[in-house]
């Protein structure tokens, strides 16, 4: 009876309280509210393996929490940002098209600044207790403080994939990559910026070539920009003529670059996922002669997050999905190279023995480096560097003269 009265009260109160957001600290209420909601998760849809993983998450939340999860497959995360923005412009403050976005970096920074995000919620999720906040960059996103406005779900770190049939030895630095590409013209390329993997390559080159990495953690200014990026432009000026198609064309995305490697058009490619090569070999997308390496000084890494727009009509369910993504079962599945091969954001020491066994049981696969081999993670530069570098890249190399 009490339940019924409460239900009646809730039903009555809902229209008045439209826009009253669920409170993540009262998790039982969140679960109650989430049941029966539908979450439109806007996530990049260019990778079959990721799509399958999201479908699996959808099955889980439907079975466990009565939530319907729809994957809206984007070609570009910015499409979802655009959508939320046009809704704000049109005054749509509730029941917007986007409930959850796979996001990080510049898109997160833009949405947070424009007040397009719901939160803070991330650190109130029950599974946040398991997250490795000390060892992994989950509280900053490209040096921008997260402040609970997005919840991490996967760790990424730059590795280079090399086809050992043509390039048997790892290359230890950007200079070594340049030397090799000069001797083997046309066998290396990277996705065309502003694709995120392409800009990641530029960042990795900048971090590896600069004499003073500390400067990159602060904003780029008119004073420090030219001098700091000079080694990068010298490197790219030398590298570009030696690239695939002499730098007159670039693959559009990371997977398109993968296809080039599968077609034996290139022998070296960048990846932001240490397990991607193994997963691609398992899917017949890469020859089994491909292996991965990291640079001697280490490579940059960051976390992938999910965020909830301010006008989502299913915030409770979206939070439940974010929490499920942090569960040991989902994290272990994502780390399985046969599924995704993404790094976990959890602190394995904080898990129960049963949960830890899920991770210990994983066979990382032939082309995946062990955590020790992956070595130290270098922090992402402040986003302002990337904005300027991407613009300069477009005018220097994005237009063939």
């Amino acid at each position: 009876m009490k339940r019924l009265a409460l239900a009646a009260l809730t039903a009555f109160a809902t229209p008045l309280a439209a826009g009253a957001d669920p409170d993540p600290s009262d998790w039982a209420a969140v679960l109650d509210e989430a049941r029966g909601q539908t979450v439109y998760w806007h996530a990049w849809g260019g990778s079959t393996t990721t799509n399958d993983f999201i479908a699996w998450v959808g099955d889980r939340v439907l079975a466990d929490h009565g939530i319907t999860l729809n994957h809206v497959k984007l070609t570009d995360t910015a499409d979802a940002v655009t959508r939320v923005l046009s809704e704000k412009q049109a005054g749509v403050v509730d029941g917007g098209a986007v409930d959850l976005i796979w996001i990080n970096g510049a898109n997160f920074s833009a949405m947070k600044d424009a007040g397009l995000l719901f939160g803070p919620f991330a650190e109130a999720l029950p599974n946040w207790q398991l997250v490795d906040t000390a060892g992994k960059t989950v509280r900053t996103d490209f040096t921008i403080p997260v402040e609970g406005y997005e919840s991490p779900w996967a760790m990424a770190q730059v590795v280079f994939m090399h086809d050992t049939a043509d390039l048997p030895q790892p290359l230890g630095s950007m200079q070594a990559i340049l030397d090799w590409s000069t001797q083997n013209p046309g066998r290396f390329t990277y996705p065309q910026p502003p694709d995120f993997l392409g800009t990641t390559f530029l960042k990795q080159a900048l971090v590896d070539l600069t004499g003073d990495p500390a400067i990159l953690s602060g904003p780029a200014t008119d004073q420090n920009y030219a001098a700091t990026t000079a080694p990068l432009w010298a490197f790219l000026d030398a590298l570009t003529p030696t690239l695939w198609r002499s730098g007159r064309a670039y693959p559009a995305t990371g997977p398109a670059q993968l296809q080039l490697m599968a077609d034996d058009e290139i022998d070296l490619a960048i990846s932001f996922s240490p397990g991607e090569a193994t997963a691609a070999i398992a899917n017949d997308q890469l020859p089994d002669s491909v292996r991965t390496f990291v640079l001697d000084k280490g490579t940059i890494g960051n976390a992938s997050f999910v965020a909830i727009p301010f006008n989502s009509g299913a915030k409770a369910a979206a939070m439940v999905v974010a929490n499920v993504l942090l569960s040991p079962q989902a994290q272990a599945r994502a780390q399985d190279p046969a599924v995704l091969g993404y790094g976990t954001v959890l602190d394995l020491a904080a898990l129960s023995p049963d949960d830890r066994a899920l991770f210990d049981a994983l066979d990382l696969g032939i082309a995946t480096l062990s955590p020790e081999e992956l070595g130290g993670v270098q922090p992402e530069p402040h986003p302002s560097w990337m904005v300027r570098i991407a613009q300069d890249w477009a005018s220097r190399y994005g237009v063939v003269r």
């Binding site: 809206v72 098209a97 296809q259 237009v399």
Partner: protein, 559 residues
């Protein structure tokens, strides 16, 4: 009642386009309240003009547009001049419907998988003929001149113009004109070009304009086959539109306005070229040269036709092979093994998208058919003719670049409180589907023998009874063809589905183009084939259903 239908149809063509253009023009002139910007200002255009690759992007749009249109028109004219009415031509005609129904994106993928240095042609010829053990470092496709892009457009525009021409040929009395010219001693090709083509061109002028506008502004084909350093202007608009930096949105809208101006200018230039050709060709026609036996030109025409047909079908074949491929390394001509894995893996998602695609296509096409029949019947009964100057209204959504008005239309729908649903997507599809349905239906409708109606009327039948009991049944075949055309158009629409649907409406086309960015050829193969099937099945039905219905009434089969 009936008189209202043409007005309604006109509104459906004009209102969204105008609303969309206004919605795009405001941000282009710096008025963008969401980002806290109030216009008017010319800053977005200054920023656009300062963009380093702008003129290359503009040149690419112009060159690929004019080259694809000119080449397509030349091939169509040569094919018709050399072969119309022959047995070989009937084979080309038979290939038309499947060719037309292959969505642009699928045809472009097929072509890319064929001609790339690691594509099927290179694999078939390597290493025995070429000596390549790994793919050569050649800039194909994505070449800086847009040659691959132009070819990709030509293989789709030739079937379209050919279809438009064939339906127009009956109106210009082509067969008898050609016979007459030949009895006067003209060679077949020369005679056709001098006697039939001028009258035919007057009939297909608007479709040619559509081809020009489309080729200058295409996005999906340009993404697949066009260069990327920089891409054509239309791709830049889409890219800037999706930039997280909001100020880029203004740049995108300014570029969309520039695109609109380019198309308008392009159409004017084309019209000027027409006038110049008219002036110079008059004396050529009047001079009376008969032309020699032109087997060379005829062979050239047949070769071009076969190349168009073969490249689309071979492209589909290579898509099919990829969708079943296990490991497949260069330079193997075929995969190491075949597997059903990719089809099983994508079957669930693809089946859902297939259903969604067909629902949208069916609803928008039925609405278009209803409107088209209403318009044509109103023309028949009340003389409200959509022809001459008014025909421009029908062509408006096809001539104004999609990229110039859809972003504004999306905002307009949101302001109007219409959002996210299947309904608005169907409505936006209707804008593009209706012109094709009307064009496809109007010739057979007008060609219907009015004496049958007169006889019925003298027997006491009302106009309504004549419409329902005589005209519609006799036009079953034409209506089914119009429906098939409408569905094929709807299936292939990318930008309207993406922008108006807000990403919530996933069709085979949006899914396939989303996969493009991933470059997974096996997944692309599955989706592109499903997409082709969705467009092709209605054409098959349009052939099979009348054949079954009229199995005892042979005379109706060609009605």
């Amino acid at each position: 009642m009936l008189r209202a239908v043409p007005v309604l149809a006109g509104a459906i063509m004009v209102v969204p386009v105008l609303a969309g253009l206004i919605g795009t023009a405001l941000p282009a002139f710096g008025h963008f309240p969401a980002a806290g910007l109030a216009g008017p200002s010319l800053d977005p255009f200054r920023q656009l003009l300062a963009w380093p690759g702008l003129w290359t992007a503009v040149r690419l749009s112009l060159v690929s547009g004019f080259a694809a249109t000119g080449l397509s028109l030349a091939i169509v004219a040569l094919i018709l001049a050399g072969w119309s009415g022959t047995r070989a031509f009937r084979w080309v005609e038979r290939a038309l419907s499947p060719l037309l129904s292959v969505p642009h994106a699928a045809a472009a993928f097929g072509l890319a998988f064929l001609i790339a240095p690691s594509g099927w042609l290179a694999r078939l010829l390597s290493p025995w003929a070429t000596g390549w053990t790994r793919p050569p470092d050649l800039l194909i496709p994505q070449d800086g001149y847009g040659i691959a892009l132009t070819l990709g457009l030509v293989v789709k525009e030739v079937p379209f113009l050919l279809l438009m021409s064939i339906s127009a040929l009956s109106q210009v009395d082509a067969a008898r004109s050609l016979t007459l010219a030949q009895t006067l001693g003209y060679g077949r090709v020369t005679g056709w070009l001098k006697v039939v083509f001028p009258r035919l061109y007057a009939q297909i002028r608007l479709p040619v304009f559509v081809v020009l506008a489309f080729s200058m502004t295409v996005v999906d084909v340009a993404l697949i086959l066009g260069p990327s350093t920089p891409p054509p202007l239309s791709v830049l608009v889409v890219r800037w539109m999706s930039d997280p930096d909001l100020s880029m949105r203004l740049l995108a809208n300014a570029a969309a306005m520039l695109q609109l101006a380019l198309v308008a200018g392009g159409l004017v230039v084309w019209a000027l070229v027409e006038a110049a050709i008219l002036r110079t060709s008059g004396p050529w026609i009047a001079r009376g040269h008969r032309g020699r036996v032109q087997s060379g030109q005829r062979l050239l025409a047949l070769g071009a036709a076969l190349l168009v047909v073969a490249s689309v079908f071979a492209g589909l074949a290579v898509l099919a092979v990829w969708s079943f491929a296990g490991p497949w390394q260069f330079p193997d001509a075929l995969p190491d093994s075949l597997t059903l894995r990719h089809w099983i893996r994508h079957s669930e998602g693809a089946a859902g998208s297939f259903l969604q695609t067909m629902t949208i296509a069916a609803l928008s096409t039925l609405a278009a058919l209803f409107l088209a029949l209403g318009c044509l019947e109103a023309e028949h009964r009340h003389g409200m003719k959509i022809a001459g100057r008014l025909l421009w209204i029908v062509y408006l959504p096809l001539l104004v670049p999609q990229i110039s008005f859809l972003p504004g239309l999306q905002t307009a729908f949101l302001f109007g409180g219409l959002e996210n649903g299947l309904g608005v997507v169907v409505l936006s599809h209707l804008v593009f589907v209706f012109p094709y349905v009307l064009l496809s239906l109007s010739d057979p409708y007008r060609a219907w023998n009015p004496r049958i109606g007169t006889v019925a009327a003298t027997l006491g039948a009302s106009p309504g009874r004549i419409f329902w009991r005589l005209r519609l049944p006799m036009l079953t075949r034409a209506m089914l063809t119009a429906v098939a055309v409408g569905i094929a158009v709807s299936v292939g629409l990318y930008l309207p589905t993406l922008l108006i649907g807000g990403g919530r409406v996933a069709t085979l086309t949006t899914e396939a183009v989303a996969l493009t960015s991933g470059g997974d050829r096996r997944a692309i193969g599955v989706y592109a084939l499903m997409q082709t099937a969705a467009a092709l099945l209605p054409f098959a039905a349009a052939i099979v259903i009348p054949a079954w219905l009229w199995r005892n009434r042979r005379g109706l089969l060609h009605g």
